[in-house]
Symmetry: C2
Subunit: 460 residues, 2 copies
């Protein structure tokens, strides 16, 4: 089992992008997993088939007593039922020819109980034998923005801007996936939220493989505890990279105490973290250590052009934030060369005498009242062949309209522009406008920004 290759996009399509979904255990009981699942399917454009022998109608859907009596074979079945009924229901799915199953029930390998572990293995075997790809058990479900295919009890948030790709988020933990997906309320496009819990069959590597070939996904954000097969993830990540998609990963359970907690969580063997980190780096996976920086880093890679030679230029309206940028760049080994003489002359012409016409460029507080001075500095830096990217630390809110021309300049120059939001009015709409811009990457930490830039420069 552990030596199989990652499932292909096509082999997971009925699971992740279904045209029809059965909800086994559908229920009108408020807050029940069945009711929450149906509510999450409100936006689904395909057919929904509630299955529950107790009801003839659930919500606005006709309800069926069992899988066998459905009018058509669903692509995906959600098992929103207690552990006791799961095995039989999965058997019924296999007999009916269902393409994928999502199993919420807990009480399997994560209990540490041998019988429970064997029960989990039986689920995997049923899926293998019947050609049903199984997500879970002990999972919160999966959600694809396209067609509203949210096969989940967790209220995962997804959002896409126009037809542009978003971040595909993969999380072993459903709760972490739920928490991280909330960034979709802040302007960041999220194409998928895929959780896999105990991963008896489909695991994070399979989801990487799936997203590599999904055009709605522009970059992959992955948080996981451990892997059945590191080789599978590495191959899937290389496949994603070959499709032009970065895989950004946060490996948790890196400590002795964290690994112990992971055994109670998803029964995951967390592996040799340093060895895995080395393998991941060689496979081109971008590592982040703080989970709160995962999605913003992936969003950057989804927007940035291919990496190019050169250093980083910083333009700020505050000397203090420029200093922090310079400190962070030096600490992380990111080059911040001085501008060429012509660039320096352009900077000098654009800013007051008491500013700093260098790198970092301090356009001074005047930039907040004279946007043109700020934009002139950004344009000068983007035009300088010594720079691959420009970082704009924003200490105070700047109108989205001010920064709007910057994205077009960056695109024309084939360079990356990162805005670092130093303002602690952290839910500010100005930040959302930047995050939603197809050509501007938003970071909420200078450290996170320069870690991403270091990884980006090293990809060339």
């Amino acid at each position: 089992m552990s030596e199989r290759s990652a499932y292909s996009h096509d082999s997971l399509r009925r699971l992740v992008a279904p045209r029809s979904i059965a909800v086994i255990g559908a229920s009108p009981t408020p807050r029940s997993l069945g009711a929450r699942t149906l509510a999450n399917l409100e936006r689904f454009t395909g057919a929904v088939f509630p299955v529950n022998a107790k009801y003839e109608i659930v919500g606005r859907h006709r309800c069926f007593p069992d899988i066998a009596s459905l009018p058509e074979t669903p692509d995906c079945a959600i098992l929103a039922i207690a552990k006791e009924g799961v095995e039989a229901a999965l058997q019924a799915c296999a007999q009916r020819g269902v393409g994928g199953a999502v199993i919420y029930a807990s009480g399997y390998a994560e209990t540490g109980n041998e019988q429970a572990r064997q029960a989990q293995e039986r689920l995997a075997a049923i899926g293998q034998a019947g050609g049903v790809r199984v997500v879970g058990p002990n999972c919160a479900g999966i959600a694809a923005h396209r067609d509203g295919a949210h096969a989940a009890f967790a209220e995962f948030l997804t959002a896409l801007n126009a037809n542009r790709p978003g971040v595909g988020l993969i999380s072993q933990s459903g709760a972490l996936g739920l928490a991280l997906s909330q960034i979709a309320t802040q302007g960041t496009a999220v194409s998928h939220v895929l959780s896999c819990g105990n991963s008896c069959d489909v695991d994070v590597a399979d989801f990487v493989s799936y997203l590599a070939d999904d055009p709605a996904c522009g970059a992959i954000a992955l948080v996981f505890e451990g892997l059945a097969s590191p080789a599978r993830l590495l191959a899937a990540a290389q496949h994603a990279n070959s499709r032009g998609k970065a895989v950004v990963a946060c490996k948790i359970a890196t400590s002795v105490a964290g690994a112990a907690a992971a055994r109670y969580h998803t029964a995951t063997a967390t592996g040799d973290t340093p060895a895995l980190a080395g393998l991941m780096a060689r496979a081109g996976i971008v590592a982040v250590s703080r989970v709160e920086t995962l999605v913003e880093t992936a969003a950057f890679f989804g927007k940035a052009p291919p990496s190019r030679s050169g250093g980083i230029a910083v333009v700020s309206s505050s000397g203090g934030t420029g200093i922090i940028a310079a400190d962070t760049a030096e600490r992380l080994g990111v080059p911040m060369p001085q501008p060429s003489a012509p660039t320096a002359a352009l900077l000098k012409a654009a800013i007051p005498d008491f500013g700093a016409a260098r790198n970092p460029c301090d356009a001074t507080a005047q930039a907040t009242s004279n946007a043109q001075s700020f934009l002139d500095c950004v344009a000068a830096m983007l035009a300088d062949p010594g720079y691959a990217a420009v970082v704009l630390p924003l200490g105070r809110t700047m109108a989205a309209s001010t920064l709007a021309p910057v994205g077009a300049l960056a695109r024309a120059a084939g360079k990356a522009v990162c805005v670092v939001w130093m303002n602690q009015a952290i839910g500010d709409n100005g930040a959302s406008d930047i995050a939603a811009d197809p050509d501007l990457a938003l970071f909420r930490s200078m450290d996170s920004c320069f870690h991403a830039l270091a990884a980006w420069l090293n990809r060339k």
Copy 2:
């Protein structure tokens, strides 16, 4: 000069807590520094005296031609005028007996020009000779919440909850102070925002000394580039500690490139960072390396009881966040011992079988629908003598009413409770409610939380 002690609270009172403020260069011109300053004084309960020979009235105030003609001597004068007029105006302030002056003008030592440096020294000398405490030049001003004394052109935000103390924020950079002060929109109480720019007279150490004896301030957050006298800061910090107030500091310009940028910013000699770090640690100053964690760390110290023996307990509704807590604690050397047998029994009774009745305690997603189960776990951990503090990672929004009893439990137990907001709907109101709670500390990063706890445990 560099060897004097820090100014006492009393000697800075007319500057920071004035009963009357003159605005030299007051102006009705929109966006002028004078107009912005007057707007920021709207809430000031004392007398405001605009000074400008061009006007008889500015806004709703009578305007005076010069300092000499004011009907009374102002405690504080703001010099919102261009560099050319600053020296004469400061002389006039000294002659009139003004207690403190705030100088906005740039173009002094930060230009690197010798004449400009001498001009700055003359300002310091005028202040010394006349008994006027001088803030600046090249500064954005200072703001005290009490009485609305915002002697600043920057729109610093301050806010206090009832009569409880808040964080006193000191920033050499006005723009950074402005950016960080926006946390006051997110529930965190901020008593002061004090910037000092080039620091020709009053510097960050003096402000620490001032805040040590201000009851509106419960903890001090400090971000700075360099110090004229490290000994002055260390003594001031020890004085603050003796008043029960932690000083949390973020030293920037720690790199070669950052130090170069600082010379252009505030003409600060940034010093030997590793040596200073050692001195600061011995003086009980809590260091943070990422500026975005500065104010939340100070707010924690302002709320936490005196440090006590023991380890840290973690209760989460998500196994994933518990794993991250365990990883972070182990990496930072923070003990997370297992609960006593009676505590473990209480946990086991409170959570489902598939949860983890240990440390970290995974109360599972059930905790989000059954708040009592979560609260029972928190109460059990707070009652266990092995723990000094409890960390609650929140992956999804939990109603403030759910957590409200936790603060009272923590206070009764004399223990600290930290909520780590893992939810990336980062401007969510739920977080503001937690930040505003007098007994709950809010962190937006697990790393920041455990760094603060490590420092707190080490203070005992």
